[in-house]
Symmetry: D2
Subunit: 383 residues, 4 copies
């Protein structure tokens, strides 16, 4: 039974002219929430844009274009190496920015075998849209904070140039709590909990078959692609778990075991030694996915380094933080092989559709079958 009654009646009429055209009125004149939440973010469909010739042309240029083309080539290599398990790492607000469909398409075409992500991408953004909600285009005049006090009063949250209805986000929080409350009290990996979210969508008709939009959580649930969020309380799911644990104080309760996350991802590395990393942004997902090479070693399995690794980021390397650290640096730690690695200095909304679209239109996935890593985790691993 669906229970989206509160919001399912929302209808988004798209304005005939592009939403980003500057409005004449000042930020301070803005009136209603409805006016501000008019033009939804629309997810780019890489299947519609054959960028192969464009990216191939970039191979003989310089700077970011050449790096991007090389990264696209390495992603294609990963896919043609059918032994390779492709781990997609997501950091930054990517789904809200229009990249949801790219990732859904990669999952549906067996181009991704596991995902490591920040919680916000998976819960606050992807699962949120799966519940029927949208992200909205914010006018340029909001980008630098000029209207934030007003937005707060309207319960509109802002991500740079994008708006979210905080009231809808609260429904998302409540839905995660409802799912948690339905579970047997014990320690879960985030992977298990996200699979429950996928099951929820499936059972509640939030599926393409039922006429609803597709989502990463659903696609991964159906394709047995595990999703890990190593800091899983740091998102909408965290609000659900806090409410749950508060209500269950003194009783048995659901907990999120980030140790189990690490153990499970390490098991996948052991079960499928050849791996490649396709990283958007840095942060915890980058570090976490790189570290499983060492973790396998600690379990007594001599694991090979990640054979392929590409990262799209604008982070600087000069502050020493991991997000912008080069993949060469990771090779000193024995995590990433030096042969097929490429950093791409570019913002993801431009670079990721080109890289993913290139690999898609080269058809590299066609000889590939699904790895069903979620099923691997249900069987005992011989270490």
């Amino acid at each position: 039974m669906k229970d989206f009654g509160r919001v399912c009646c929302l209808k988004f009429t798209e304005s005939p002219r592009p939403a980003w055209v500057k409005r004449d009125k000042l930020v301070s004149d803005m009136s209603t929430k409805k006016e501000l939440l008019q033009a939804p973010i629309q997810h780019i469909d890489i299947k519609q844009h054959n960028v192969v010739a464009l990216v191939d042309a970039m191979k003989s240029m310089a700077y970011s274009s050449r790096d991007l083309a090389r990264a696209a080539d390495i992603y294609e290599m990963m896919l043609r190496d059918t032994e390779c398990g492709v781990i997609l790492c997501l950091a930054g607000s990517l789904i809200s920015a229009g990249l949801q469909k790219v990732i859904v398409d990669l999952v549906r075409h067996n181009m991704v075998d596991a995902i490591v992500s920040t919680g916000a991408n998976i819960v606050d953004q992807d699962f949120f849209e799966a519940l029927g909600f949208k992200h909205y285009i914010a006018g340029d005049e909001y980008k630098y904070g000029a209207g934030d006090a007003d937005l707060r009063e309207l319960m509109i949250d802002r991500i740079y140039d994008t708006f979210i209805d905080e009231e809808e986000l609260r429904i998302c929080d409540e839905t995660t709590e409802k799912i948690i409350n339905s579970l047997e009290p014990r320690a879960y990996s985030s992977r298990e909990l996200i699979a429950e979210m996928g099951k929820y969508l499936s059972e509640n008709g939030r599926t393409p078959k039922a006429g609803e939009a597709d989502s990463i959580v659903l696609a991964c649930y159906e394709k047995n692609v595990p999703i890990f969020c190593p800091a899983f309380s740091d998102c909408s799911f965290g609000f659900g778990i806090v409410a749950h644990q508060h209500a269950r104080k003194g009783k048995t309760m659901v907990s999120i075991d980030s140790g189990k996350d690490f153990y499970e991802l390490t098991q996948l590395k052991i079960a499928n030694p050849t791996t490649g990393l396709l990283m958007i942004g840095g942060g915890v997902p980058k570090n976490f996915a790189q570290d499983i090479v060492v973790a396998a070693d600690i379990l007594g399995v001599e694991a090979s380094m990640h054979k392929y690794a590409i990262q799209i980021t604008v982070a600087d390397s000069r502050d020493g933080a991991l997000s912008g650290s080069t993949l060469k640096e990771a090779s000193s730690w024995g995590k990433v092989d030096l042969t097929f690695e490429q950093m791409v200095f570019a913002e993801a909304t431009i670079a990721f559709p080109l890289i993913a679209g290139y690999a898609f239109h080269k058809g590299a996935y066609e000889a590939r079958s699904e790895k069903k890593f979620s099923e691997v985790l249900m069987e005992p691993i011989a270490v």
Copy 2:
């Protein structure tokens, strides 16, 4: 009983001339691990440098200097507002870079009441040094990866311009496992586990009293300052937990409950409504600490926004990622008040000693008493 036999005999003789002086020989000529791990990183002591006049002069300049001076002023305000609980957020490799003593000094002088950090800062770097190990200065010629293949063979890990002995890091991993194995099997918050690490140091004589170096983990343990690592398996502790869970397969085991982390930090917000954020870098710590305002709301407590917030970062805001998102943006989410917030575009090794040193030498902490937040968490919270 101490058990650092394998390494405690290391003696670091500092070279008479600065370690960063360029060596004549090529990267490819490098010989031994011992030669490379010669000059240890030394932690800056803000107590020795009265920067008040310097920072005051920056108040009437422009760009980052003025922003830095304003941030220093806001930190001082936080401290003079004795109701305010100061939450220090740490992301990026800060301890390895020479900032350990700054943080220890803030903790020891009641200038920080809770810490939210990436795991690497707390375990791989601070606890690692507490075990007697060091980080080392790497020559400029290693910064961009020219020697990484050789480093891997020598088991030397690199963080930009800093070296770590991977063999020593493995001892750190093993120590975390030993601590985990000594605990009663159940779900723990990272805060509880880090307190156990502090206890371990205290009981094993890794203390200033015993002639050893001070550390953040120890100082916080002694001062009842809680430390949270929301992605706690994503560090050396993760290797310990994986080993533990692997060995305990099928039995009761220790797990890391990131939900409990979030619940606990939220309880602190409820118990101490006035809060200020002192953030180095972005990532999970920034988001996590900001989100407790909303979490308190979900528990039915109308929590005030963080009254003060400063962040030091070089992250760009234009990719939409949280790390570089402005504090104004956080105010649209109802998380941070607009009145006393300041972003400082600067690399932390330069900016943090100036900001912390300013507040220290202004003596703002003198009228302040310790909040002992760890004790608060041991009592039932009335929500």
Copy 3:
């Protein structure tokens, strides 16, 4: 008569596999100059890539993709506004990076009416290639300086990931000197001198008609598009002028009057009041082109601000420098109108082909005729 004897016999055989594939051997094993200068940079041809649907899809995304799409839209608007004179500003090493043909195509299709550039793009890179020389793809292993000492011995210059034959560059220097020596001694604007370079190419058969590659200098010469380099001694032409002035010491000589540059560009603003700026990078070209609004005012002509302005840059705005300063800031100076301005945070080799290609394939130029601004400057301007 051509006089490129020393180098015209060079034949570039392209390797069958992409040049950027990592070579197994170390930087230090490199052998000959010939081996290193094998794979030439090839200029992307926007006419071959219809990116309209791709860029249109970006309009409903977020961050840089949406900004890029808006910039493409504004460039199209500039072109459809047939009154508008389009001023292209170039900073950064763009021609060496594979963007020469994009600019040649814009000039040939009446999509650019004047150019303001750093000298390097025009002389060291475009004119250099017009003389029959090439830029070469450097392996990733050279990007961070690991091989620079060796390169210097081989007389190979490096621009990040690109190589140049210093011996060929010296021929370019000598050619500028030859052109200067052929001129009547007086003060010239850079525009006049660059037109002489175009004439030189035309008269020496360095033209597509003669089977040679096209170039910006030639195309602008033929299309009467003026090119200004406000710091014209700061490039290969500077070496020519130094040699010339040294040889002519005590006699009348050619001089480069940067005052005349500014006066001429201001006259164009007065003659054609509606203007748009298409800026790649910042630096002197950005400031110079913006300032003509004020200069016209000083000549007593109430000039309108630049009606359209877009800039592609990765420069940060937080250091206060002009290169990364927002176009909103320029509006406080009365230089740029606020209505149609867009900054695009992206590296030019990716973003510029998309923006230029979008406008090209939308056919916006078709209703446009050439403005022949060089001819305007030959007539007296009524101020």
Copy 4:
């Protein structure tokens, strides 16, 4: 005779509390120009802040702090190498940001022998302040452009977080025109013209002796330190020259010969072979000063590379532009020696006072005598 009547009656009463304290009122409520131009930028005095111990402590840290400390050390080395001619390169809005006095102090203490700069620093900012005008602190709420339309109406120009009175700037433009009009018509190097500006200040009583503020233009004039602006029409002086050339149309006139600039700076390199570069920002000054090594070579003099080179910048290297290109890259061009070079990734208002202050308080200049390079240029050079 002074002629600053229009503005010399301005008195700046500083507000008792720091100007950057956020005002409660909105940007849109702002009232008068006088209210906005209240708190002048005040130039930091490095002589008051002994940072030697602080910077020495940074030598054993990591990232930017260690780089900064090494740069400070290299600057000290330059000064102790009494053969070395120190060339200071300035790009970015530095004088408006509070760095004027740092540079004046370096000049007065023989710590700088020549300056290469953007025009804005020298004319619009330093000479402007020498005329008795000030730059003003802008509130944080203006940083991102929220008030730019209002500012334009008030004739207030904005540089990020700094305000300038456009009416005062027009007086500066007019003063340059007056100086130009007083000169014999011929081609001048920017160095000659800036010396005329120094003479103007000296003769009109804009000197410390006369109770006025010191300035870079004046100090360099008095100390025979040449200042070069390779794009000299790209600043307030350009407005003067345009007005002059317009008025003198058809007659002999003053012109700015950027070729002569390059020739003169090259002569200095030949006369004083050992050189060091102290660069703030990149752009034309960086390239121009580096190129004189090649120019000397072209004049038949085998010039040594710059022996020392340090650069403070936040520019990214990944877009291939010169501003962020590493000094290692410059070494492939044979311009900069590899032994004593250091890039510092930091914003100049923080980093430059520390580096300059370190060298000052180490007293490295004491054994140094002034080089009077301006006098060198008045004598014939034997090449």
